[in-house]
Symmetry: C2
Subunit: 283 residues, 2 copies
């Protein structure tokens, strides 16, 4: 279908169902003993909170996750299962940051940001490292972009190991802040963009923007319909569950065959955490 | 959850999405040149028709698949995609057999039965061979039972390579003909049993019954609710699509922890062809 030779890095099969385990684990296990005793904290309504709870449990330290009222029951249950302590707050970004600051004041926890954190970026970079070692070198690698932690780790890894590999960031057309940032040459942020790819609603931070600007070849966009079609295609043909954010990379690749035809292409499937009671093709 | 160490053979990732590719390929590629020129035929509303069409296409010979009116559009489309010629008939078994006989009269095609065929049983046996070589030896192997082709191939393979491995056949409680056959010591057939595990509605044939009677340790039953729960569990935790028939093996294993606790257990996931518009947990 693509005309290319595709290799998929299946982070949907990763612990806790997403690549986020990598950055969270790197951050938690890099803490010195005294800091570790005070635990870690983050605000996240998604896979990062889950991954941080799991990483903290692996080291035997405390994780506090600030989640907005109305976060999905599946997500809160999963965080609790891994032993994360949940503190709820209003859904605004201001409330989330204020609540997180209160947690840190009270506990002395170390804040592990979901993407704008060098330890997290380094951890996410191990994903491209494995992909390159297992199936590379590639002419191109395609990975989704949201806050930019994964694409930054990917770009830094491949800049060192395979500088000839082109790096494409795949972004929902409905949340195209990274695309506009790269085109305009300065960081643009988006406020709560509306896309089914819920893992890609965040905007770049200063650390990730610096890497994206320097190392990403281009940002490729996919429409909501293309994302859903690609998600269903992967489910039906590859028999694996991927979340909409992962489908963005597949959709962006299929939407630009002229860039990849006849080439070796690595695609990072970022996660597989979906709500089976709310599938996008349900009538 | 099981208390056992589980290894899964993922035939949902097999060509055409099910283990059926094995038996069909073995049958088609074992034909002599003259017979091959006249093609193959079967009646099947499921994965076997698809697998036979694909195997025939791989060898470049003709496959005719007799399918009942009302077979799912997904299945008929898939058979046609692989180049199989579809002949429709009424949904009764008599009509299917009569129509198949007409096809054979007209074309001289070789009938490849979905399970009661030594070539098919031998082909299905390669699944347990790979599972044993990759992750065995096992204390026990669990595989679904419908017509008995897969379990017969599994049992014959392991009887030769690992005679100490116990073989459990997993069957829907709503289609328990194999269970009743083994308990009563004589072949019992069921007429169109009602179970969501559509791949397991067939009854044993004389060839498969002879192997099951001799080599299967026991038949374990699973209710419809247990099947659906196991299917959803595998989707959510393992992030792979499995069809209800595959979930029967998982459900039967989880339902009998006393048989498997502390042991090494191989489970055959038979296929992943599901209709995403008609999931069993949909409201």
């Amino acid at each position: 279908m693509s005309g290319a030779r595709l290799s998929f890095k299946c982070e949907n099969l990763q612990k806790a169902g997403a690549f986020k385990a990598r950055g969270a684990t790197n951050a938690v296990f890099g803490l010195d003993g005294e800091q570790a005793s005070r635990g870690v904290a983050t605000h996240s309504s998604g896979n990062h909170g889950l991954a941080l709870s799991r990483a903290a449990a692996c080291r035997g330290v405390r994780a506090t996750v600030v989640m907005p009222h109305g976060a999905s029951r599946a997500k809160t249950r999963a965080v609790a299962t891994y032993g994360g302590e949940i503190v709820t707050c209003d859904a605004t970004m201001a409330a989330r940051e204020r609540t997180l600051a209160e947690v840190v004041d009270r506990t002395g926890a170390d804040i592990v940001h979901p993407y704008n954190d060098a330890r997290v970026i380094a951890g996410q970079g191990t994903c491209a490292l494995e992909l390159h070692e297992d199936a590379g070198p590639f002419d191109a690698v395609v990975a989704p972009i949201g806050g930019g932690g994964l694409i930054s780790g990917t770009a830094l890894t491949l800049a060192a190991l395979a500088p000839q590999t082109r790096i494409y960031a795949a972004e929902p057309a409905n949340a195209d802040d990274a695309c506009r940032s790269l085109q305009g040459g300065r960081l643009v942020t988006a406020d709560a963009p509306d896309t089914i790819a819920d893992g890609l609603r965040a905007s770049l931070g200063d650390l990730t923007w610096a890497v994206v600007r320097e190392h990403v070849t281009d940002v490729l966009l996919a429409t909501e319909e293309e994302i859903i079609d690609a998600m269903r295609l992967v489910w039906e043909r590859m028999k694996i569950l991927i979340e909409p954010s992962s489908a963005v990379a597949v959709a962006a690749m299929l939407g630009h065959p002229e860039l990849f035809r006849g080439q070796r292409v690595g695609i990072i499937i970022t996660g597989g955490n979906v709500d089976l009671d709310d599938l996008p093709w349900a009538a």
